[in-house]
């Protein structure tokens, strides 16, 4: 049983949330968490036990980190400083060191599974940065089949477009392929199609569209606006990725 599975079983009232953690070469990711239990239960002095499980892109656990966060305080979890050397999904839960049900009795109802809000700072050689909040919750069962539409706008300043795919669930992968379809945004005419390997449990992958559609630069310049349809049966909604010629980047949830 994985550490993540053990932690999820040990804390059934809490849900792990996830994010893509970019580490290696010039990249690093810093997780920032504010112990907000004090905001909801003022004066109760609730310490949060922060549980962080780093994975590589194949879904293997590479590091488990735990730390206590004082009431009304924050934690900065620096992946590289913890010895994480490979990119992949990170799963995070902040477990309250208190009986919340008891504290909430007569005041309000608490969620049966409490998720954790946190932020990531993606850093590229201390010269470009991006921020985002946590993304999908980790589940025990596969995501339903779905289609995600991703709009692309031509820009001279963007070097590449792509996706960050994540599969924050613990169920075995169904195998098979997902599909990328590149089409015009105006007349919906399909320009090209490509297949994608499905991700393993807790797996992730950075997809650069140029690797699948070698002519996408010229096609996007010609059409100005295009859409990628991602047809998938086992993964979360992707993050979109833009890499700029300046070295800057922009990753965000769809």
């Amino acid at each position: 049983m994985s550490h993540l599975n053990e932690l999820m079983s040990a804390h059934p009232g809490y849900a792990f949330t996830s994010q893509y953690c970019l580490v290696g070469d010039e990249w690093n990711t810093i997780l920032s968490f504010f112990n907000y239990y004090e905001q909801v239960f003022p004066g109760q002095g609730i310490v949060a036990h922060l549980l962080v499980v780093f994975h590589d892109e194949s879904g293997n656990e590479v590091k488990v980190h735990e730390q206590e966060v004082a009431p009304g305080s924050t934690a900065q979890v620096n992946a590289r400083e913890l010895g994480v050397t490979r990119s992949g999904l990170v799963a995070v839960a902040a477990v309250a060191m208190a009986n919340l049900e008891e504290l909430a009795t007569g005041k309000f109802k608490i969620n049966s599974s409490i998720p954790t809000s946190f932020y990531v700072t993606w850093d590229r050689a201390n010269s470009a940065r991006g921020m985002m909040h946590e993304w999908e919750g980790v589940t025990q069962s596969r995501h339903a089949s779905s289609i995600h539409h991703v709009g692309l706008k031509y820009s001279e300043q963007i070097a590449e477009h792509g996706l960050m795919l994540t599969n924050p669930n613990l169920a075995p992968s169904p195998g098979g392929k997902d599909m990328l379809t590149l089409r015009s945004a105006t007349n919906r005419k399909t320009v090209a199609r490509a297949e994608l390997e499905r991700l393993p449990p807790m797996g992730s992958k950075v997809v650069r569209f140029k690797d699948y559609f070698p002519n996408i630069d010229a096609q996007l310049q010609e059409h100005d606006r295009m859409v990628i349809d991602l047809t998938t049966c086992a993964q979360a909604a992707p993050l979109t990725a833009e890499w700029y010629k300046s070295g800057d980047f922009h990753f965000h949830h769809l």
């Binding site: 810093i30 920032s32 968490f33 504010f34 907000y36 239990y37 905001q39 909801v40 004082a70 009431p71 305080s73 924050t74 934690a75 900065q76 919340l100 909430a104 309000f108 109802k109 608490i110 969620n111 049966s112 409490i114 998720p115 954790t116 809000s117 946190f118 932020y119 700072t121 201390n126 470009a128 940065r129 991006g130 921020m131 985002m132 909040h133 946590e134 779905s146 995600h148 539409h149 991703v150 709009g151 692309l152 706008k153 820009s155 300043q157 945004a185 919906r188 606006r225 295009m226 859409v227 833009e242 700029y244 010629k245 300046s246 800057d248 980047f249 922009h250 965000h252 949830h253 769809l254």
Partner: protein, 292 residues
């Protein structure tokens, strides 16, 4: 004051900050409607039975389930003083899989409005009247300056905001404030409202912490109704660099206001002033409290 026709109460909208010295773009890719299930089919009748929706809204919802209406967009620009500079119903109707794009700078130019700091209130509607599942999804804000970009995505919504009834207040938590030779964090707060006639100017308080006991406190300054206001940590706390030095230049902030609700955006700029990244705040209470 925002014109009466800028939006209707059921129309999901988003108040996005606009930056005068950069290219501002917003876009939205319409995702597929959620699949029909028993809960979705029963919901309109349930809300009617509970007195939450008029029968016209129920009929409209069922009609929409059978034949979804396309989304249309309206835009309204408000400067940082809260003055409405222009608004327009944008052309086009967008269905699942369609891609809406607006170059805000070009749009302002087309209305003879100089590019300036302000807010774009983008309204996206497909005519649904129910109050529970009205968000069409997430809109993108992309701000580009000299090849460098910042931006975020967040959801349209139609819930009442600063709408006359009493608000407990607002607390904005930014868990990572940086002030060093390379980066300077900032806070951008938006005094949004679902009410077109909202006229309350607010003045939040900000605390800069290195730990729960050690903090500085100051006033953020006035934010006009419907307007956004950005303040860098160095503007708010001129000695922030020295104050945070003992913690490696890293701290955190808590912004507070009573009587009104704000939207909060975390800002990171290069020390030169160029925008590096933006991200909207996440609520804390909804993680823990089951409001439904």
């Amino acid at each position: 004051m925002i014109p009466f026709e800028a939006w209707q109460q059921h129309e999901p909208r988003m108040n996005l900050p606009i930056f005068g010295n950069a290219l501002n773009e917003v876009d939205f890719t319409v995702q597929d409607d959620r699949k029909l299930n028993l809960r979705r089919i029963v919901a309109p009748a349930y809300h009617f039975a509970r007195g939450r929706s008029p029968w016209r809204a129920v009929l409209s919802n069922y009609k929409h389930m059978l034949a979804p209406r396309p989304f249309t967009f309206k835009a309204c620009f408000v400067n940082r003083q809260g003055e409405m500079m222009c608004h327009e119903e944008l052309p086009g109707a967008y269905r699942a899989g369609d891609f809406f794009y607006l170059n805000v700078n070009d749009w302002l130019r087309s209305h003879n409005v100089p590019i300036q700091d302000g807010s774009l209130i983008l309204v996206s509607s497909h005519g649904r009247a129910d109050r529970w599942q009205s968000s069409p999804g997430n809109v993108t804000l992309r701000v580009t300056d000299s090849g460098y970009t910042a931006g975020y995505r967040t959801g349209f919504f139609a819930r009442p905001l600063n709408a006359g009834h009493k608000h407990v207040g607002f607390t904005g938590l930014n868990p990572r404030i940086e002030v060093n030779t390379r980066w300077v964090s900032g806070l951008l707060l938006i005094n949004h409202s679902s009410e077109l006639g909202y006229d309350k100017t607010v003045r939040p308080t900000v605390r800069l912490h290195v730990n729960p006991e050690k903090f500085l406190e100051t006033t953020f300054g006035d934010i006009a109704p419907h307007a956004a206001s950005e303040r860098s940590i160095l503007e708010l706390f001129p000695n922030a660099e020295e104050f945070l030095a003992s913690a490696g230049g890293i701290g955190y902030s808590v912004s507070m206001l009573t009587g009104a609700s704000l939207a909060s955006v975390h800002v990171l700029r290069y020390r030169s002033g160029q925008l590096a990244s933006l991200e909207h705040s996440r609520p804390a209470h909804t993680n823990i409290i089951n409001y439904l």
